[in-house]
């Protein structure tokens, strides 16, 4: 078991952090081993991590430290090789593909570095997509989509195609898509990686606003400035958590 240094820097001044409540996500000894050409690569080695509702956590670390693998496991895009993963109190480490898809759709909102908007779909349709998979009626979807787009300030661009938007606007739409289904947690993978600093700041401000409104966010970033936006930073190195800092505002 690797040594984990857990430092509580200071008491958060913001109410969403509720350390006393049951964790939304609980990872216990999660490992991930990739087998390539008979070579074992240990991407994650015994990760213990709790994320509570309302937390804004950033996962930082150098390239190849396992940040993205951890985020994939958290987002149920991948399964751990060992350990347990419970989401909202339920074990999700070894669910079937359809079950994982269903939970991903309802409980997790993704924000990708490269936005990953579907070029052939309008802004509205992109945001609507996860709700469609949920089988939500069109009228209800409209309400959710409009609300999400208004929340990120993109309501006036709903009929545009992604190619007609700037990078910052595209990421806003991606955030709206992640929010639309009211997931339990937003997972953001380098959300500013493809943006200039001005647009990057704007997106980070948006995440901050969402967090202030109660959203639970887990963000992977290697940019120290943006990592500081979160109220907790987990540092990974060689697949291990080497530092877990709760930052005061």
């Amino acid at each position: 078991m690797p040594a984990t240094q857990q430092t509580i820097a200071s008491e958060s001044t913001r109410p969403p952090i509720s350390n006393g409540s049951a964790p939304l996500i609980h990872l216990d000894g999660v490992t991930k081993v990739f087998l390539t050409d008979e070579v074992e690569t240990h991407a994650l080695s015994g990760i213990h991590l709790d994320i509570r509702p309302g937390e804004y956590i950033s996962i930082a670390g150098p390239s190849g430290c396992g940040k993205s693998t951890l985020l994939s496991i958290l987002g149920l895009l991948d399964t751990p090789s060992g350990g347990s993963y419970s989401l909202k109190g339920g074990e999700v480490a070894n669910l079937s593909f359809p079950e994982r898809a269903r939970i991903r759709n309802r409980e997790i909102g993704f924000i990708f570095q490269s936005f990953n908007l579907i070029g052939d779909l309008t802004v509205y349709e992109n945001v609507e997509l996860p709700l469609t998979y949920r089988g939500m009626p069109a009228s209800e979807r409209k309400h959710f989509v409009t609300e999400a787009l208004e929340r990120v300030g993109m309501g006036h661009r709903s009929k545009h195609l992604p190619s007609q938007l700037s990078g910052g606007q595209q990421q806003r739409v991606a955030v709206a898509r992640a929010l639309a289904g009211k997931p339990a947690i937003l997972l953001a993978d380098e959300p500013t990686g493809n943006l200039d600093s001005r647009n990057g700041e704007a997106v980070m401000d948006l995440l901050k606003e969402l967090h202030a409104a109660g959203a639970t966010i887990c963000m992977v970033t290697h940019d120290v400035r943006f990592a500081q936006h979160a109220d907790r930073t987990v540092h990974l190195f060689d697949g291990r958590v080497i530092e877990d800092n709760r930052i005061a505002a």
Binding site: S72, G75, L77, D78, F97, P98, A101, R102, R104, N105, R106, F110, F112, S114, N116, I118, G119, L129, P130, Y133, R134, R177, G181
Partner: protein, 826 residues
């Protein structure tokens, strides 16, 4: 250029799967096109293998009021034509005959022809050895010589160099062999749509004509074909006008033989048209079908090349970034497609060689001039041109799209879809739509023909052909003399067949056996006019002229044709007993509508003259489809062999088991009666029936084959496009999965895209098929050109196959790992 070829070859070798599918696609299309083009070249385009064939015409007669078109000519009529018809500078007569050859060994019946000596010079045909007939070698007493074919010389006489001058015994008479015709010479050539004559077999013996004296008096006894060579500068129309004058003169001279009301006339037809006219439509439809196959294959090739170019977008961008101009990129891509087309074309030529060999085997009795079909220089030249054209034209589409890559996008790590990519997608989608549309047209055509064929197979022919074997027996005049007309035998002929029936009936397994002068669906026919008792012959009005057969008593028991009224013939119907006749229902309805035909009398002689021989109707039998399964039964009448002892008869034997097992025992019985009597053309009745629909079967087979190839290519095309789509959209699919899409959602997405393409393709195809199916109308039987069931079934089949082809890559897409998909920066 060498460098480009080297690079292209290296690239193709590196992707053996792509290369193999591309070459096979081109090979299938080029193979089918070369084979059909060879066929059309040999059958329709190439002139007939005679001297100046464009001036050769056939002369037929007609009785249009009785529906008799292109019927043969009688001996006196021919002699009149020889004297009076000045539009031709040469004229000759011919007729099929059969020779029993018994020069030691097994007696054999050989197909032959009697011809006037002028025939060979008229055709410009020279013997390979010896000579052909001289002008004086004709007429009774001057016809004891023959010319034989190289085929017979080789097969039967082992190419004996000393055969010329030797004597052969044919039909019990001696004939001197005076010449051997070369292998390629064929005449009479198989003709189509000619009624009343047997014009199908390739002949091996030619004998000078000697009209029997009784034939020279009978203007009504028509059995000869007439061929002429138009004088230079004479048109068919002017020859036709001259014939009209000649016929008008006959009507004046022989009012008893010709009547205006019967619509008698004579017409000339270009020989080439007569030989190939019957298959022209079918071949043109086939050409259209293979043209479609070629288009589909080209679309496939272009689709595959587009996908390949997409995969190489980055490589091409690097090349351009390093200074390669658009022409250079274009040349590189074109080199690749031309190599594929040329190699595919060469493989296609090989396929067509095999295809033609196969076609020669299955189409021997169906397509005229099939022996002349070969892959000659013109076919190879056209194939090469088509292959190169295919390579350049369809390689050009992807090459043009890819020659100017969008560098900034393509070179960017994770560069997103460029406009070239969008353009390629649009072209690829359009090509798949086109493939599906064209395949649908072919499938509809094949479906309609297949349905026609099935309907035809289910037609009740009026007899049961199963477990019956048939064979031909022709008793020679010398051995079985006749008191009157030479085509009829006498007592010895009647005795021979009566005894043969008695002996065959005793063979184990035989249920019934009988003879007929004409077998249903065998391609031969005979008709004769008669008068009905109590009905006055009106001047100028034609009497009934219906199809006539001579049979022995058990004929209808062998055929299992039902007796409706009266009785069958029996042993009491002899040469000296009351003359009797059996008619079919169609004749009863036509000549005695609303009356009882049984007991009525007819005569072949003029009822106005004294001493009329009346023939009493003793039985009415069910109708038989004689001319073809697709043609309505005609009125027929049957006379007993004892009262009209034809010398050439077809023996039909019904057995309880496989009738072929009886053949050697039957042959033994016949030869124990006459050791020199051959038994010829042994076929089961089922084969006779099957042969009668052989042209339709061949059309169904070939169009079905081409439609299957089209379907396969369309499926491969759809599969390729959807596979590519899946690869291209892997990232998008990953995003969707990350957002919670289930496998079924992904499946719906991919199959939905395919469904859209298939739907547009099918809609376009249905419109095209509605227009093109009209061309098939002439080949259809009891099926409309717009048969909704066929359209629906074919659409369903194509849709299902295309969707299946898209389902496989769609399934693959659902198994994509979203993590891997998202990590791909496509």
């Amino acid at each position: 250029m060498l460098n480009e070829i080297k690079v292209a070859l290296r690239g193709l070798v590196k992707t053996p799967g792509f290369t193999a599918v591309a070459i096979l696609t081109v090979a299938l299309a080029i193979g089918a096109n070369s084979a059909v083009f060879s066929l059309i070249d040999a059958v329709i385009v190439r002139p007939l293998p005679y001297h100046d064939p464009s001036r050769l015409v056939l002369l037929w007669e007609q009785f249009s009021a009785q529906g008799l078109d292109r019927i043969p000519v009688s001996a006196p009529e021919y002699l009149d034509f020889e004297k009076e018809f000045k539009s031709v500078d040469q004229i000759a007569v011919f007729d099929y005959t059969a020779f029993n050859l018994a020069n030691g060994g097994t007696p054999e019946r050989i197909s032959g022809a009697v011809v006037s000596p002028a025939l060979f010079s008229l055709l410009g045909a020279e013997p390979m050895s010896g000579r052909t007939f001289a002008r004086e070698d004709q007429g009774v007493g001057h016809d004891d010589m023959i010319v034989i074919s190289e085929r017979l010389w080789n097969r039967r006489f082992n190419s004996d160099p000393f055969l010329l001058g030797k004597t052969l015994i044919l039909n019990g008479r001696s004939y001197t062999v005076i010449g051997v015709m070369p292998k390629a010479f064929e005449f009479p050539i198989p003709l189509f749509n000619v009624q009343g004559g047997q014009f199908a077999e390739r002949v091996d013996i030619w004998k000078p004509i000697a009209f029997p004296p009784e034939e020279l008096k009978a203007r009504y006894n028509r059995s000869y074909g007439v061929i002429g060579r138009l004088r230079p500068g004479t048109s068919v129309a002017s020859a036709q006008a001259e014939l009209k004058t000649i016929v008008a003169n006959w009507m004046r001279l022989y009012p008893d033989n010709y009547s205006t009301a019967a619509g008698f006339g004579a017409r000339v037809y270009p020989l080439h048209e007569q030989v190939v006219g019957g298959v022209r439509t079918g071949l043109i439809i086939l050409l259209g079908a293979v043209g479609f196959v070629l288009l589909i294959a080209c679309a496939n090739l272009a689709t595959m090349l587009l996908a390949r170019a997409s995969a190489r977008e980055r490589e091409l961008a690097i090349r351009v970034a390093l200074g390669a101009g658009p022409w250079r990129v274009l040349r590189q891509l074109l080199t690749e497609s031309v190599i594929l087309a040329v190699v595919g074309g060469a493989a296609g030529l090989l396929l067509s060689v095999w295809g033609l060999e196969l076609l020669k085997r299955i189409g021997a009795r169906t397509i005229p001039r099939l022996a002349e079909v070969n892959l000659d220089f013109s076919v190879v030249a056209v194939t090469t041109a088509v292959s190169l054209g295919t390579g350049i034209l369809f390689g050009l589409i992807p090459a043009l799209v890819s020659a100017k890559p969008e560098l900034t996008e393509a070179l960017k790590e994770g560069g997103r879809g460029s406009t070239a990519g969008t353009r390629r997608n649009r072209i690829r989608n359009s090509l798949v739509v086109a493939e599906i549309a064209l395949a649908l047209v072919l499938l509809v055509g094949a479906g309609l023909l297949m349905k026609s064929f099935v309907r035809l197979q289910n037609v009740d022919p009026g007899f049961n052909s199963s477990k019956v074997v048939t064979m031909e027996l022709s008793l020679p005049l010398v051995k079985y003399p006749s008191p009157g007309a030479s085509y009829l035998g006498g007592e010895s002929t009647i005795s021979f067949f009566t005894e043969a029936h008695r002996r065959i009936a005793e063979l184990p397994g035989v249920q019934a056996n009988a003879c007929t002068s004409i077998l249903p669906l065998s391609g031969t026919n005979s008709d004769s006019s008669f008068s009905i008792e109590g009905r006055a012959m009106k001047a100028g009005s034609p009497g009934p002229d219906e199809e006539i057969r001579t049979i022995t008593p058990d004929y209808f028991r062998v055929l299992q044709t039902p007796l409706q009224r009266g009785r069958f013939f029996n042993d009491a119907d002899t040469a000296t007993s009351e003359e009797v006749v059996i008619i079919n229902e169609a004749l009863a309805r036509k000549c005695w509508p609303g009356q009882d035909a049984l007991g009525q009398r007819i005569t072949f002689s003029d009822p106005r003259k004294p001493g009329v021989k009346w023939i009493t109707i003793v039985g009415i039998v069910g109708n038989i489809r004689h001319r073809g399964l697709d043609l309505e039964p005609q009125p027929e009448y049957y006379i007993p062999h004892t009262q009209s002892p034809a010398r050439s008869m077809i023996l039909a034997v019904r057995s309880g088991q496989d009738p072929r097992e009886l053949v050697s025992a039957i042959r033994r019985e016949i030869q124990s009666m006459d050791p020199e009597q051959p038994v010829a053309n042994i076929r089961t009745f089922d084969t006779v029936v099957a042969d009668s629909v052989a042209p339709r079967r061949l059309s169904v087979l070939l169009l079905g084959l081409f439609a299957a190839v089209a379907l396969l290519l369309a499926a491969v095309g759809t599969y390729g496009v959807i596979s590519y789509l899946v690869v291209q959209r892997t990232h998008e699919i990953g995003v969707r999965m990350a957002l919670g899409a289930q496998r079924s959602d992904v499946l719906r997405l991919v199959v939905g895209h395919a469904l859209k393409l298939v739907g547009i393709g099918i809609a376009t195809g249905v419109v095209l098929a509605i227009f093109s199916a009209r061309a098939l109308s002439a080949l259809l039987y009891r099926v409309g050109a717009f048969d909704p069931v066929t359209f629906i079934l074919v659409t369903g089949l194509l849709g299902a196959i295309a969707l299946l082809a898209s389902y496989i890559p769609a399934l693959r897409a659902t198994r994509a790992d979203p993590m891997i998909a998202l990590s791909r920066n496509t």
